[in-house]
Symmetry: C3
Subunit: 512 residues, 3 copies
């Protein structure tokens, strides 16, 4: 075998060169390919309108372009966020055991579908039926029915009340854009507890959970922050900064998910064999690091849509700042986690490297558009260390078994994210946010009220979500039992719960 036969190669090259010289002169006829055809620009001159065009007609066309840019941006960003479901599925499955892969994958798969339907039925209506952020998309509001109560002379938005089933009254392209983008955010929340409760959750009781969180818990808290609810009014009503500000969901998405994951992990209890009677702790390693790392990259990829897309407008050029800060924090989180692991344990541990990046991403989600680059690096670096400390604290001190670290990643760092906004927002963005004049500033830039608003939002989230989800899981457990049989847990859940084996290695060549 001589594949490096240069004579053959030279012969081949000659044939290619001859072909090159003949091809243009024979195969092709038509306009001179060397002409200045940088596009069909001359023909475009007539596309706006042929004949005389008025200023108002032109203004219409410009406005339409503006809306189209926003739609294109928001929809593509939403697609990227949707793809994060694949990332969650891969990370959670990679970090758990091979005997449960079909079950872990199955939950991550179906939570997306259940979430879509739950959010369509009433979740979207509860969350954005009030006012929504629809104005940013440039369309008609349409969603304007917020249920409010009045206390101490102040109006508090509690829940939205229009838009159920995307019915004809909201059959509008702007509303549909908003629905798509918000749906995928909700599903991110819904999929977080599938990590902390993995390897022992009964599939039939998982299904009602997915509907409950997508129809009620997420939308209600979401309404308070993003849907004209009372937390967004903390600024206008009580003078606390701009009210609770969460650009892309450190609290609305991640803290809600992390707290739900905590409630679920407590109720369902640790996996068999996790904790010994003498109080010592066993490590149950994941089965597939490559799957988890690829999943982490998918999440980091989709997160650009998550954060930068949250302007809801491509014409808001702040998108680049949000994207770059997201990138910087993710990197800083991965690096600080790696160095911390190497310092403590001499080995980097790819699962902690991945969780460090995810922690950085969660933490930057709230502040990404409001802060300078150095603060993004700092927030991410803190997140990367915080997540490791939290993982060990939850695992070893609290003795709560969270197979993938979901509580530490999404809960702890979600909280850190909204606090970070309250510290580092530099006043370069957010003029008029939540109806409060002026830009958003954190403690270090002169507004302690903003930090208070962040803390009120965070504490509210923890109290409300933990209360709702713990009650839900407890009730469900009492009535149906949310945990699989011990025997199935030992054997692996794939066959008893899902009816298939996840990996059929016996079909491989080495096992014939």
């Amino acid at each position: 075998m001589k594949p490096y036969n240069f004579k053959k190669f030279v012969a081949l090259a000659l044939i290619v060169l001859v072909a090159v010289l003949i091809l243009p002169s024979t195969s092709y006829a038509g306009p001179d390919p060397t002409g200045p055809a940088t596009g069909n620009l001359t023909t475009l001159k007539d596309t706006a309108k042929s004949g005389p065009i008025t200023l108002n007609e032109l203004a219409d066309a410009v406005g339409h372009n503006r809306i189209a840019i926003n739609f294109v941006w928001v929809l593509i960003a939403g697609f990227l966020v949707m793809f994060m479901q694949a990332g969650f599925a891969a990370v959670e499955t990679g970090f758990t055991r091979a005997k449960n892969v079909a079950h872990t994958m199955g939950m991550n798969f179906l939570v997306y579908a259940l979430g879509v339907i739950g959010f369509w039925i009433c979740g979207f209506a509860f969350m954005f039926g009030g006012v929504g952020a629809l104005a940013a998309l440039g369309g008609t509001p349409g969603l304007t029915n917020e249920v409010t109560i009045t206390l101490f002379g102040k109006v508090f938005g509690i829940i939205g009340n229009t838009g159920y089933f995307l019915n004809p009254s909201v059959y509008d392209v702007g509303v549909f854009s908003l629905f798509l983008f918000q749906m995928v955010f909700m599903d991110t929340t819904a999929t977080i507890p599938t990590g902390s409760m993995a390897e022992r959750w009964k599939f039939t009781t998982f299904i009602p959970y997915a509907l409950f969180i997508s129809m009620f818990v997420y939308p209600i808290y979401g309404n308070w922050v993003w849907g004209a609810g009372w937390l967004s009014g903390l600024g206008a009503n009580f003078g606390l900064g701009h009210g609770h500000v969460d650009f892309a969901g450190s609290s609305v998405v991640h803290l809600v998910g992390g707290v739900a994951a905590l409630a679920g992990a407590i109720v369902i209890g640790p996996r068999l064999g996790k904790y010994n009677k003498d109080g010592s702790v066993n490590v149950i390693p994941g089965h597939n690091i490559p799957m988890a790392i690829i999943g982490t990259f998918i999440l980091a990829f989709g997160w650009f849509g998550f954060n930068a897309g949250s302007t809801l407008a491509g014409v808001d050029l702040r998108i680049s700042v949000a994207a770059v800060n997201t990138m910087l924090a993710s990197a800083a989180g991965a690096i600080s986690a790696t160095l911390y692991m190497m310092w403590k344990f001499k080995k980097p541990d790819p699962s902690m490297m991945a969780n460090g990046m995810l922690a950085g991403l969660v933490a930057i989600t709230a502040p990404c558009a409001f802060i300078p680059a150095w603060a993004a690096v700092l927030i991410g670096a803190v997140a990367g260390i915080l997540v490791i400390i939290a993982v060990f604290f939850i695992d070893q001190k609290l003795k709560i078994d969270d197979p993938v670290g979901a509580i530490a990643v999404h809960g702890v760092n979600g909280l850190w994210g909204i606090i970070a906004l309250g510290l580092f927002a530099d006043g370069s963005y957010g003029d008029g946010w939540n109806g409060v004049p002026g830009t958003v500033k954190g403690l270090f830039y002169g507004d302690p009220g903003q930090l208070y608003a962040q803390l009120v939002g965070g504490i509210t989230c923890i109290v409300f979500v933990f209360g709702a989800m713990f009650t839900f899981f407890k009730l469900q457990d009492k009535i149906f039992g949310i945990r699989v049989k011990a025997e199935d847990e030992m054997d692996g859940l794939d066959m008893p719960e899902m009816g298939v084996i996840g990996y059929d290695n016996a079909s491989g060549p080495e096992m014939r």
Copy 2:
């Protein structure tokens, strides 16, 4: 080991805070970061044009922006569709056996490359050489040579006849955009039979198949529906609604692929060991559920580009309706399939969950832009059940071995998709479609003619594609034999067909 050492953490936090307070005042000089730098908006004022600008110049700039929005939208949507190739590869490989992974992956890989070249040679010219949908992109038509025949005084478009090799006469940015977007659609079709014929197809006869379908079969049927061909003229010529309407390809892409998959599966015959002599059927489970689920998510992700991108225009704001309906139908399909499996067999079966979602996606592809949200849910829910019934019917009654369910997913639900458009199109979109005035309405909204046009298109597809592909496969089989040696099929195709082992587990740590 005390990773939860709080003293250390507090010390760290203090260092961080000190750094925070020092950093801004020392490392950075320049403009006040608390200033209102929401972007360089003031500098943008001059970018349109410095000096006085005329209304016509401005109209040119607006028109150019409009085209650019469409290009950006169509190209990114096309990239997403291209990525679906990875999804098909993962789904098909996950649902088949470990001993054939390099072969199944290899086919899914090369079909993309072969399709690109086949479509470049003549497929694109045959399909869009007539008129194409190029106007939607806002550029010059360029492609205007449709071969027609006249029968009963009516003109029937048969095939396009310009644009071969993207030669200089169509060296235009608009044509190139259309080529990219349409190419990836074609490749979706071409990759479908690699599923139904998996685990037994000779690689050397697979190659001519890929060229045949990309150069001839797909483009010809595609021309009839999307390239100014006769099926698109059923409305203008015979008063059947707006002619055969297929927004994003339930018939053009999926039914063509599904019917080709059927023809191929019949000719190549079932896998060894699939059917017993007594007529009983063996289940041959896939080897890797996680791979298949990740693949399904990739497909669902790319499908947003597939469906919403099919406006060919970002300025057509209907993109959001297409995207949301796509999401709703995919979710409804996954859920109905899951519930149906749990009802029939007590276990959800992730492979059926995945096929349910794919069935919903296939079915919504034709009607996605024309229907309200509730209809999308309904169409998806029907698809999710239909696919399971079809899988079992094909497998057990017809005794056609389709390892991944490609015929049921793409064929049966492709047909359901075009019928669904004929039932549920609500008249809110499609004014002037295929040259027929008024919007597109299905049977339930008053236009039975539209349903007839859908059925004519579907039946034409089945007859033409089955005829062409069955003949092709039969001839190929007679002359070369399209099936691998029985011995290779038993051993696995990776080494004999591809020259490598797909999984080399022996290189793992547990096997040293």
Copy 3:
């Protein structure tokens, strides 16, 4: 079991139909869903501005839309390029052994994070501190401090000198967009040597490498070509065409990475067991072909962002030509590699098929926007054969052990790519490129000077990068030793280097 029970199906269908007929009339009230609601177009008329609008105000809005289109395009393209990191991780891990997966994945993961931080610290400032391509994004230049030397009366740009840490002086949305897009390009380069040095690189010495290349080597060469440096001035200064032209990085990204990969592979030496004492060569096959093929698709997907995004402007409609040529070359490379393997070895070998596609992609990266479609096919086809010849030559003649073929893919074909531009650029694009009037033309279209400029750029790259990286690796090796212990290499690097096992198959059901 009778899942094909048609009575049940008909009953179901009837229920569905009844539901369909009832649903619209009961559940929904509001505007007529059959109305012409193609969007809220009428309401958009007022979005540009209510009240009379002046021509200048409108021009501002048009300019803002133009910038927004560019931002949306560049950011999304950048996200796609970032996702290529997942592709590299999968390809490199799939092509290496199962015992090292956590290590290979870990390097590919952390190189992204380290690169982000290194580029943020000073890489971006060195590369684009001069002038950058920022004007294309429509924003303020901002980056205007190029260090130059004057020789023979000519000014040579050497390195940029502003923009460190994205400090307040460059706190601008345009600069941030450019940073994101350029960062992901740099990280592509940085990840290439993790392939050629896989399975034996000490993790602690890998970390400084990642910082060194991202902070110094890549940015300096990049400055010369893209940042107003001297190679871009070869045209204006010495009359060599338009200076060294590299549209998306065949030299800046891939040749730099390939040469660094070569230097690293030489210094670190071949894997144990690769070469026998008698001079014969052992093949060490990869462990997971599906992972590598999926990774290749991810790369091909992201590459559309890489190449088409390199206009830095969505309003530059040449994006479609760049994208289509990228697609054509990737396909031609995959096919020519497949056919060449089948001709030489009777088997296609999926790893060579994948490398063929990647080679086509690397080669088209420089010329993609400047050439006609047939040239893209030709360039890709040559690349697909070239990569195989190079792989065998490097492996068997030079006896350099490159586990994934990184040197052949990125180095050899990076060089071929810039030469190809110098041959085939057809003069239809690039007017005024690098300050030289007229369009870019290669040798076959009349400008031999362009080919010289390409060769000067290529040779400079090889000399500079090889010198810098070889010195770096040698010094590092002398001081710290860059190679793992032989024992660890035999056992697999996952546990000794990373602290985890990559695949824990023992947790699978078959091994309980």
